[in-house]
């Protein structure tokens, strides 16, 4: 095991054996080639691998050597009839172009590109890619929610306080207004204006009579209520009688007056 092998994650496993580094002579067992290629993210990644593996200087790439090694891979891939990604072929063309430009004598330089190294663009791309490759590893190393730490979320029992629809006096008023408008427009019936307190008292009286027993007429009045309320109660009882909701009985003149609901009568 060499030192470099220790630092490398296995590229692939061939017949169960971990493949830690690519062989020096670039020979790759045919059944491993696909796996090996899968480990490279593309031509830039492959080039970086070759450069770093052979301790080449990114800033002074020996183009001939790098191109030769790169082409070795391409040939291997093609001889195995692997579907070669177009990017790999494009990169091969770029490498050959750079190599050929470097072979040209300097004086024959046509356009004034300020003496720029033909490798400059490749260098920039390699460094930029390497920077992002490194950044990706750093990002992945950061503790990540759910993978490396958990988020606190305490349960709230929302069912404890189920929110019921709320109704305001204003709602009721608006709805009633709407009903009155509709009634007015349709004119099928009229809604009488009534003293609400009489209606309220009618309900009150009906509640007092709810159990169906005869109730003393006087007991429906509360002296503490004051005269207006007593009058309203009286009108309410008369109204109930008029609507056949209650029955008022007096068995003898000046005798006790009893009131009971018609429901009680009907139940008999």
């Amino acid at each position: 095991m060499s030192d470099s092998q220790l630092q490398l994650i296995p590229f692939a496993r061939i017949h169960g054996e971990p493949m830690l580094a690519l062989p020096q002579d670039l020979y790759i067992p045919p059944d491993a080639l696909e796996l090996v290629l899968d480990t490279f993210q593309g031509p830039l990644d492959l080039l970086l691998y070759l450069i770093r593996k052979h301790n080449l200087d990114v800033l002074d790439i020996p183009m001939a050597e790098l191109t030769r090694q790169y082409m070795g891979y391409i040939e291997l891939m093609q001889s195995n009839r692997m579907e070669l990604a177009a990017e790999y072929l494009l990169m091969a063309a770029v490498l050959i172009e750079i190599k050929s430009r470097m072979l040209l004598p300097k004086i024959s330089k046509i356009a004034d590109d300020s003496g720029e190294d033909p490798r400059a663009e490749l260098m920039r791309r390699l460094l930029e890619y390497e920077q992002m490759k490194w950044a990706a590893q750093q990002l992945n190393a950061l503790p990540q929610a759910e993978r490396d730490f958990s988020i606190v979320q305490v349960f709230i029992e929302t069912t404890v306080q189920e929110r019921l629809p709320e109704v305001s006096v204003e709602d009721l008023k608006q709805v009633w207004l709407g009903l009155l408008t509709r009634a007015k427009n349709s004119k099928h019936h009229t809604i009488r204006r009534e003293q609400l307190s009489v209606r309220e008292q009618m309900t009150h009286v009906l509640r007092c009579l709810k159990n169906g027993e005869y109730v003393l007429f006087e007991s429906l009045f509360e002296l503490d209520d004051g005269l207006p309320k007593m009058v309203v109660t009286f009108i309410a009882i008369l109204e109930l009688a008029k609507e056949f909701l209650v029955e008022i009985q007096q068995t003898e003149t000046f005798g006790s007056i009893y009131v009971r609901t018609n429901r009680a009568i009907n139940d008999e």
Binding site: S150, I151, V152, Q153, V154, F155, I156, E157, T158, V160, Q161, R163, L164, P165, E166, V167, S168, V169, D171, L172, K173, V175, W176, L177, G178, L179, L180, T181, R182, A183, K184, N185, S186, H188, H189, I191, R193, E194, L196, S197, R199, E200, M202, T203, L206, R207, L209, K210, E243, F244, L245, T261, N262, R263, I265, N266
Partner: protein
């Protein structure tokens, strides 16, 4: 590996916070040093440390955790009783806070105390649900025109009133049956309840906007339409 969980020796309730801090410190420190720490305590996790782990697990769990699950958190094997002692101690340490640890059917879980709901609602001001127009109109007719039968309501609204609407209002405690009208079929008479007045913050039905006022409002509007 088999160090028994000793009951907490500090009996002074006031020193609780301090005890916990002192115990917790080495964990945090060593955690930074090594990412893999299952063997850190070498089976010697003490009661306070275990309680901290239990607390953390319960705070992050999305479901109640049964005792069987919680046992997995301990390096020493605990029986249900021992675990429950710890959980009850943990629950007590949350007394008086906005969140409590409780035991429900499927296990233990933290939950917000119900009285905190009113504050939490400020963060999510969900619109309270509203009743349909049919329900509101029925309620208005019963409130203003009581006692009324279903037939009366239908006559005023001009459409049939489903039993469901009346049931909704009865379930809410806002209307009830106060009698029957003595006509064929003996229809039930509906009236509004004290509960409705309470919920509307009224002392009596008289405090509902008076019909006269409404008709005053109504005339120009009806004329306009």
């Amino acid at each position: 590996m088999s160090a028994p969980i000793a009951p907490s020796t500090t009996s002074d309730a006031n020193s609780f916070e301090h005890t916990e801090l002192a115990v917790a410190e080495p964990i945090a420190a060593s955690a930074a040093a090594s990412p893999i720490r299952t063997d850190l305590f070498d089976g010697k996790m003490n009661t306070d440390e275990l309680k901290m782990v239990l607390e953390t697990a319960l705070l992050t769990a999305s479901e109640p955790l049964p005792l069987g699950e919680l046992k997995k958190l301990s390096e020493v094997s605990l029986d249900n009783r021992q675990l429950e002692v710890l959980l009850n101690e943990l629950a007590s340490s949350w007394a008086g806070r906005g969140v409590e640890l409780c035991c429900v059917a499927s296990g233990w879980r933290f939950r917000a105390r119900p009285h905190m709901q009113v504050y939490l609602d400020r963060l999510n001001p969900q619109k309270p649900p509203r009743y349909s127009r049919a329900v509101l109109e029925t309620l208005a007719i019963i409130a203003y025109h009581q006692p009324v039968t279903r037939g009366d309501i239908e006559e005023i609204r001009g459409v049939t009133v489903s039993a469901q609407i009346l049931k909704t209002l009865e379930a809410r405690g806002w209307i009830d049956i106060v009698g029957t009208r003595d006509v064929p079929g003996k229809p039930e008479l509906f009236a509004s309840t004290k509960q409705l007045l309470d919920d509307l913050n009224l002392r009596s039905l008289n405090e509902l906007p008076a019909l006269q006022d409404i008709s005053a409002l109504l005339e120009p509007e009806a004329a306009a339409s």
